[in-house]
């Protein structure tokens, strides 16, 4: 089956600044595709190009095999999107906003469908209120309702959890997972949080300074077997010898003074811990890290770890 | 009164050409003009002044001897020369004692007319001198030129038709001096096309204006009240 979206060597620069640099990727039907990168990595610019909001300097975009620029309007009928903030007409009610954008989505949409999506995003009962009285989370949910109302096959969500409170973030993530699993939508989602992508996406692409760093299925990129388990111990000269004769030697990645790093599935951590205790080695700390995480952390800054707590 | 009318009508019938003395002719003319004490007339008025564009105005003209005149436009605007006394023939013919000078005959519009020059003896009179062109056959004044003390020179053409017995004209054309007009600055916001027209008008430099009054129907001597003219 053809990918729902495919880009080839997509490039875009703004006033000399290269925002997207020869980006190629493909999204298959039914995937939840995560676009991961720090702010300014080119995620939004990429999404805007996919939606025809900005025009690539070079490269191509294909929707279900057909060139996007040739049949933009037909293709957009099958896409729902939120780009950056979910801005609506503040002086109109949620219902009026939904009605307006539904009417522009190509094709007739019955009122029952409008109620249905309001129910789905949990805005039922507040639809008559003016949007300017909505909280950020409500606006975001109305944005999802607008993106969903015409039953598109593809959803493009740019940082959908941005600006939400912790509960809102949890609800939004659950909603996105449900849209994928229960409603069969293909979803392209961007985030600057590895953790978020890890829990929502099936596939991912890491972008940095407009370029693709790596892409692939999440379970391969974040393969638990390739995770790093870091053990910090009290200084012990016997440790090297003990390790060498044990089964853990095969997982050993590095040893620097008291920090020993294993590359293995974190599921093995309790067994490792027991063995260390059995060998009379004092364990101060054990922590699990994704193999990509160090790398990603080096690209993005500390915001990632701050948000990981959630 | 009726007798006098009779006499006059008789005169037209019997005297195809008046061949009398200039003095006698003048007093006869004056008497005739003064016979009309007042009238109400349906009129059409056309003002031809370079800087004015006023359509033909129809209305009712009220006159009371010697010098009251008013145009009633029935809800519309009435525009009338300020010194509208000059519009009345009665005012152009000096009253009181006058010196009448016979100036002989002249051809005007294909008619042989006798010209009289009238100088009032009263030197306080507004009229300094008046020249009358007279159709002796019908005892009508067809043209006047008056030099006035206050109102410059006023010239008038009269055409007669339906109301000859009353010596009331069907049509009067008054020629008058017109000053220039300019709207105070800041009040006008002109559409450009009009500037061209205004410039053309300036070039013509016409300082004479005419007012043409066509009388359609007279009602004579009904005793109009003075209040009507206030």
């Amino acid at each position: 089956m053809e990918p729902i979206i495919e880009t080839k060597n997509l490039s875009k620069s703004f006033k000399g600044f290269l925002a997207v640099d020869r980006l190629s990727f493909a999204i298959g039907h039914g995937e939840v595709y995560g676009l991961l990168g720090q702010n300014g990595a080119g995620k939004s610019a990429t999404m805007r190009m996919l939606l025809g909001l900005i025009f690539p300097d070079s490269g191509n975009i294909f929707f279900n095999g057909s060139e996007f620029s040739n049949s933009r309007r037909d293709l957009l009928k099958n896409v729902g999107a939120i780009i950056e903030r979910p801005d609506m007409y503040g002086y109109l009610s949620g219902w009026e906003n939904l009605k307006i954008f539904a009417a522009l989505s190509g094709g007739k949409i019955p009122a029952t469908r409008l109620h249905e999506v309001l129910e789905l995003v949990g805005l039922k009962g507040r639809e008559k209120d003016k949007v300017k009285t909505y909280s950020q989370g409500m606006k975001q949910r109305l944005g999802i309702a607008i993106a969903l109302v015409h039953k598109p096959e593809l959803l493009i969500l740019d940082e959908p959890t941005n600006g939400l409170d912790p509960q809102g973030i949890a609800e939004m993530r659950a909603l996105i997972v449900s849209l994928s699993q229960d409603h069969g939508k293909t979803i392209l989602i961007s985030s600057h949080l590895l953790y978020e992508i890890e829990h929502i996406a099936t596939n991912m692409l890491i972008m940095h300074k407009g370029k693709k760093v790596v892409d692939g299925p999440v379970n391969k990129l974040l393969n638990p077997d390739k995770n790093l388990v870091e053990v910090i111990i009290r200084a012990d000269s016997s440790i090297a010898g003990k390790l060498a004769s044990s089964q853990w030697q095969q997982y050993l990645q590095s040893k620097e003074n008291t920090i020993i790093t294993f590359k293995m599935n974190p599921a093995n951590t309790p067994a490792l811990n027991k063995w260390l205790v059995g060998e009379n080695i004092d364990v101060l700390e054990i922590r699990t890290k994704h193999s990509l995480e160090d790398y990603f952390l080096s690209l993005t800054n500390d915001t990632v770890t701050k948000d990981r707590v959630i | 009164m009726r007798k006098l009318w009779g006499v006059l009508l008789f005169c037209f019938g019997t005297l195809p050409v008046f061949a009398g003395d200039a003095n006698e002719l003048f007093y006869l003319l004056r008497a005739r003009v003064l016979l009309v004490k007042d009238y109400t007339a349906d009129v059409k008025m056309k003002i031809n002044v370079t800087y004015m564009r006023v359509p033909q105005l129809s209305g009712t003209l009220y006159f009371k001897s010697p010098d009251k005149m008013r145009l009633e436009r029935h809800g519309g605007l009435s525009i009338f020369p300020k010194k509208n006394t000059n519009l009345t023939l009665g005012n152009l013919i000096p009253d009181g004692k006058v010196i009448v000078l016979d100036m002989g005959y002249a051809e005007k519009a294909g008619k042989k007319l006798r010209i009289l020059k009238i100088v009032p003896e009263d030197d306080q009179s507004n009229i300094v001198i008046t020249k009358l062109w007279v159709d002796e056959a019908n005892l009508l004044i067809l043209h006047t030129e008056s030099t006035t003390r206050n109102d410059g020179t006023v010239t008038m053409d009269l055409e007669f038709g339906n109301y000859i017995p009353y010596a009331l004209p069907d049509k009067v054309t008054i020629f008058m001096d017109v000053k220039d007009y300019k709207l105070p600055n800041g009040l006008a916001m002109d559409y450009n096309d009009e500037l061209d027209i205004a410039e053309k008008a300036k070039k013509e430099k016409a300082t004479k204006g005419t007012i043409q009054i066509t009388y359609l129907k007279y009602t004579i001597n009904t005793g109009l009240d003075d209040d009507l003219f206030k």
Binding site: L51, I82, I146 | D180, K182, D193
Partner: protein
């Protein structure tokens, strides 16, 4: 297309700001009407001093037709602002609100969107002018009555008979719609360049004011460019109160305005179709 137009009009007329224009138009009218009630006589005596020296004008000079004509003189200055308020906001306002993003991810062609935005600004203009006609003409007639209309121009004095006036107002209002549509299309073009609506609204007013001054300046150098400025032609409605009505000149003015309007819309569509939406 109709659907899109209905939505645009819905958005315009659901917004409180739209009605400010109607209130302002009414307020300008009321102020002038009030001034005419209290000071009309003094004003007339001043304006007509040249005429009054030689002619005596009697009757209801300060009638509804005359007052309306005075009110319409403000058309060149004030109504463009009210039109720019909506037309200048049409694209930039959506960009500023962030709704343009959402709007353009919907399957609508950008050309159609621009055209519909123009159409809705046009309809708004028509309604605004009709409103102006109601409060200025109808209300003035009710207050001051009907009568022959005096038109004072710098070097001519015109009287129009009262039953010859109404069609002139109809024609003048129709012409005003055309002139204001030109303003609307210009405001929309400026709106396409901007990401907030204050810029295009102020720029529109700036351009109108500067060009109007150029159109009115009596400097030979400017006389060559005057015929090409749309502000010179925006006052074409005044021609309908001339005698005779300079139909040729009014027709030419109308053509110039139509050309400008078409040009502005074409430029807006051309530019907007290529614009990166980064708002």
């Amino acid at each position: 297309m109709i659907q899109l137009l209905r939505i645009e009009l819905y958005k315009i007329f659901k917004r409180p700001r739209t009605y400010i224009s109607f209130v302002i138009a009414a307020a300008i009218t009321f102020v002038i009407q009030l001034a005419m009630i209290t000071d009309g006589k003094t004003f007339m005596n001043f304006a007509m001093q040249g005429i009054n020296e030689q002619f005596e004008i009697q009757g209801n000079i300060i009638n509804g037709y005359f007052v309306t004509h005075i009110i319409l003189q403000s058309l060149l200055v004030h109504i463009p602002l009210l039109v720019a308020l909506v037309a200048g906001d049409s694209l930039a306002g959506e960009a500023n609100q962030g709704t343009l993003r959402l709007l353009l991810t919907k399957p609508i062609s950008r050309s159609k969107l621009v055209f519909v935005k123009f159409l809705s600004s046009f309809i708004y203009t028509v309604i605004l002018i009709i409103w102006l006609a109601i409060v200025s003409l109808l209300l003035s007639i009710l207050i001051f009555g009907k009568g022959d209309m005096i038109n004072l121009k710098s070097e001519t004095f015109i009287i129009i008979l009262k039953n010859d006036v109404l069609w002139r107002y109809m024609a003048a209002f129709a012409f005003a719609v055309l002139a204001m549509t030109t303003i609307a299309s210009m405001a929309m073009l400026l709106s396409a360049f901007a990401d907030n609506s204050i810029g295009p609204i102020i720029s529109t007013m700036g351009i109108v004011v500067v060009l109007a001054i150029l159109s009115n300046l009596e400097i030979p150098l400017f006389n060559y460019i005057k015929p090409y400025l749309f502000t010179t032609h925006m006052i074409g409605w005044k021609g309908f109160f001339d005698d005779p009505v300079p139909l040729g000149a009014i027709g030419r003015s109308a053509m110039v305005l139509v050309c400008y309007t078409t040009g502005f819309i074409a430029c807006t569509i051309f530019y907007f179709n290529r614009k990166d939406i980064t708002s």
